[in-house]
Amino acid sequence: MNILKYIPVCGLILACSDVLALEFKQVQANESSVTFSYKQMGVPMEGKFNKFTAQLAFDPAKVAAAQARIDINVASIDTGSMEANDEVVGKLWFNAKTYPAASFVSTGLKALGGNRYEATGKLSIKGRTLEMKAPVTFQAAGNRGAFDGSFTLKRLDFAIGEGEWTDIGTVANEIQIKFHLVVNAALSKK
């Protein structure tokens, strides 16, 4: 909590931002989440990944330099039912044995005004990598910040669901991914 001592000081000394910057980089894994939703026979379904790691470096004053990397343990998926959990780690879906991790590695962050940003990056799942764009909001209170974003991927682009599961009339092709990352800031010298 040392940081709290600096904040009022920075408020008084306008020039301090040239010297010190708040960089959000300590991801609080147990407060963060990666969830997904999709439709199955027209029925909205939700799930989440229980295990993932995230590395972030975000200085609101230097947006273009922001970096993010999220690695998801695909076997930690929770679709809401044991039967489906067993199925989706299998070869036709994630093939978790061969491809245990899915990752998102940022390639850029653009400020869209206010607390809105657009993140671009490479999404890799099951050995396939595609460029992705995701709108992100960032909200900070003191030295705590939260990133919230979502994007939609087409599961067949990553061969998630092969064979009989390519039938998108049953399990929809569009999967919405939502992430909520809670990040603590550390002071860094410029």
């Binding site: 027209g42 029925v43 399990v171």
Partner: protein, 183 residues
């Protein structure tokens, strides 16, 4: 009752009866079959069809009760023994109850297991209970038990019809037939 002329159910009642019968004869074996399947698109489809049929039965059951409350059904033959009349009314009342509680128990089970019900893939029904594994398993047993009770009553219902037709040789069966020997 001073209505000796009613010898048949009207077309609305006949249509509702046979529609519900047809749907139950489809949904029951479907339910028995689908839950043994391993996960596949077919299984997901069959579950949805089963649920759509169930909700349809529930909607038709409402209409049947409305019909029953606003109409007088044809009377049973006068010469029928008293205990058979009582048995007949009891069976029919229980069948009406099951037309509601069987689909309702399925809907509740689905909610408790974390699956919403979207009728015909269009109309999303509310979850009347929230996701709860223990409750889901309990309701699964309730749904199955109620269905076997329904099966037993349908067998009794059909046996009684055949008894009227083949032994009593009265018109109890024809009053619910859409076609055939009308009086």
């Amino acid at each position: 009752m001073n209505l000796p002329n009613i010898t048949r159910y009207n077309n609305t009642a006949i249509t509702l009866h046979w529609l519900v019968a047809l749907l139950i004869f489809a949904a029951f074996p479907l339910g028995v079959y689908m839950h043994e399947l391993s996960l596949s698109p077919t299984k997901l489809q069959l579950y949805s069809y089963h649920k759509w049929i169930g909700i349809t039965v529930l909607l038709l059951a409402v209409q049947r009760v409305v019909w029953r409350a606003t109409h007088t059904p044809p009377a049973l033959p006068d010469n029928l023994p008293r205990w058979q009349k009582i048995a007949s009314h009891a069976t029919h009342q229980l069948l009406y109850v099951l037309l509601f509680v069987v689909p309702l128990s399925g809907w509740l089970m689905s909610s408790a297991k974390g699956y919403k019900t979207v009728w015909l893939g269009i109309l999303q029904l509310p979850d009347l209970v929230s996701k709860n594994k223990t409750l889901g398993e309990l309701l699964s047993n309730v749904h199955a038990s109620l269905n076997y009770l329904l099966l037993a009553l349908v067998v009794l219902h059909i046996a009684a019809v055949l008894k009227h037709r083949l032994i009593d040789r009265d018109d109890v069966m024809t009053r619910m037939l859409p076609i055939g020997d009308r009086k």
